[in-house]
């Protein structure tokens, strides 16, 4: 082994207790970081999955401008053939067409303004979890039957139930008056109050008839197996769209800006806390290395007298720190991953997260996600700051005077 490496390693173990204490601080904070970051990633993953699965999907094809200004006439023409062609082209069933209108739903007793979605009964279950959340009755089957599925809160608000009729009122694509009478065949319960209160599904062909859509719709929803897949697929889907129409593909984060903002806000407050933790560790390293440099003044005087430049001496101190930091990083990452893994199996509940949990349809128990990223992010940042903390002690060596240094005992 290189003699400088050897020297660095042995120097570390001159004061084993001090080295272990400093390394221990790193290990502790690294375990904590791995744990916290894994929980965060796990939570974000759940938030995204659950929110997107309910009905947004990973991507949507829409008319340009529809996302920001949901006008009836900003349509995707021939939406059913388009969805069918995309399914064929990409060899997947998880693509479905939809139409969307705001309207008034009236029971015998009450009326509420809701979002009415025209869906393809055969494919909607592949892109959305709502069809699977029917708590009473069944989901849509026929392409053009006068049937409707509504959320449980809406049913309660309308004081109606399965088997009753609802009157839908709204305006068609051309602005004309649109109306239909449909039978409630199913009630769904997603657990997200907003969705259960505001959404109803009717067959897309019926939707097109009622709202004078002339074969058009408003979205083609695409679901993929992961966010990464969605990103890869995005350009291909864009390329597959008819060129003469003004259509665009939106990613989930554009479709659900609130979700992304919530994640970002949560991340920045979390990273602020992590930052404080990292800085505390860095100061403990600074203290350790400064002490270890000061107490070796005599020895540094010797090696400088022998012809070692202050810069190389500085590198020795950096190397010692790097070794200590590497121990803290590896031990911390491994222990952190093991510790956190236990919770990925058993789950944990965090007090104070209920609000966010309710908002984004999260289960009460959270299962952290131990990934390579969540395991190495924290420890490597700690490692970097550790090195940074050693810069000052290392630079101090440039001020060392060999004879005076050797005089110190």
């Amino acid at each position: 082994m290189n003699i400088v490496l050897r020297l660095a390693w042995r120097n570390l173990w001159r004061q084993p207790r001090r080295t272990w204490l400093t390394t221990g601080a790193m290990v502790f904070s690294n375990v904590l970081l791995v744990f916290m970051i894994s929980i965060q990633f796990g939570m974000y993953g759940l938030m995204i999955d659950n929110t997107l699965q309910i009905f947004t999907g990973h991507m949507q094809v829409q008319a340009k401008g529809f996302k920001d200004d949901q006008k009836m006439r900003q349509t995707v023409p021939d939406v059913i053939p388009l969805a069918s062609r995309l399914r064929e082209e990409f060899q997947t069933e998880t693509i479905a067409a939809r139409g969307m209108a705001f309207g008034l739903a009236s029971s015998e007793k009450r009326s509420f303004g809701i979002g009415i979605y025209g869906v393809e009964p055969q494919f909607e279950p592949r892109v959305s979890s709502i069809p699977g959340l029917i708590s009473d009755g069944r989901y849509l089957l026929d392409d053009d039957a006068a049937e409707i599925v509504i959320g449980s809160v809406l049913a309660r608000n309308l004081r109606t139930s399965k088997g009753n009729e609802l009157t839908l009122l709204g305006s068609g694509k051309d602005g004309s008056f649109a109306a239909a009478v449909v039978t409630i065949i199913g009630i769904f319960e997603s657990g997200v109050p907003d969705i259960d209160r505001n959404i109803a599904h009717i067959p897309l062909r019926l939707f097109q008839d009622v709202f004078y859509m002339d074969g058009s719709g408003h979205q083609v929803v695409v679901m993929t197996s992961s966010l990464g897949d969605a990103e890869r697929l995005h350009p291909d889907i864009s390329a597959a769209l008819p060129v003469d129409e003004d259509l665009v593909v939106h990613d989930w984060d554009a479709l659900q800006p609130g979700l992304k903002q919530a994640i970002q806000a949560d991340m920045s407050s979390a990273f602020f806390m992590y930052g404080i933790l990292v800085i505390l560790v860095a100061f403990s390293v600074l203290n350790t290395q400064l002490m270890s440099v000061l107490e070796r003044t005599h020895e540094f005087g010797i090696v400088m007298s022998l012809g070692l430049k202050p810069g190389r001496l500085g590198r020795l101190v950096m190397l010692e720190t790097a070794m200590m930091g590497a121990m803290g990083m590896i031990l911390g990452a491994v222990l952190g991953a093991i510790f956190t893994y236990w919770f990925t199996v058993n789950g944990l509940s965090i007090p104070g997260m209920e609000e966010m949990a309710a908002m984004f349809n999260l289960p009460a128990r959270i299962y952290p996600q131990v990934t390579v990223l969540s395991t190495i992010t924290g420890p490597s940042v700690v490692f970097l700051f550790t090195l940074l903390a050693a810069v000052y002690p290392a630079l101090r060596l440039h001020r060392l005077h060999p004879v005076e240094a050797m005089r110190v005992n």
Partner: protein, 230 residues
Amino acid sequence: MTAVRCVDLCKTYRQGDQDIKALDHVSVEIEEGGFVCLSAPSGGGKTTLLNAIGGLDIPDSGEVWVAEQRIDQMSKGELADLRLANIGFVFQAYNLIPVLTAQENVEFVMQVQGVPATQRREQSLAILEEVGLQGLEDRRPAEMSGGQQQRVAVARAIVSRPALVLADEPTANLDSKTADELMALFTELNRHHNTTFILATHDQRVMRYAKRLIRMLDGRIVDDIEQDAA
């Protein structure tokens, strides 16, 4: 060629309210291949002069030339390089690196110089044998006697065959037999490799080996004589 040239060196230390002239207008020239003994009573300025020659300490005034280069104005880095390449030091207090073994201490300078491992190993083992330390290669300084540590320090100073060796009391802790062996080794290096030696000592036995004897007193050179070495 001159190995070392000092011109009008002065160095004053302040102790309490009085100035101590550790070097008082010292001028001296030492030829390459010289074997010089510097002798003075304690506090006479030997260590101060050796430090100035080795570039470890900068004099208050005057010039220091080593290997035809003026060194009293060099930067720390340049001085370090000069020492690494040209000068072997034996310090008065042996000054070994405590966490390294005898052999590693000896190899240290070569390692910094970038000498390959096998050559390092060969040379360090050979030199340790020459100073009579075979078998002690793996001991750390704390596990050796004063005389043994001193010999490691000597081995470290000469192992990479520097052109100039500055030794401060290299025999202070040695019995006369070991001291003679060490001086024989120095003499041989001086003869065969033309290594310049400057030794500070009060040891009469050491002075016998010198070709030139410089006596100092209170920071001044008071006597400078050529002699036939033993």
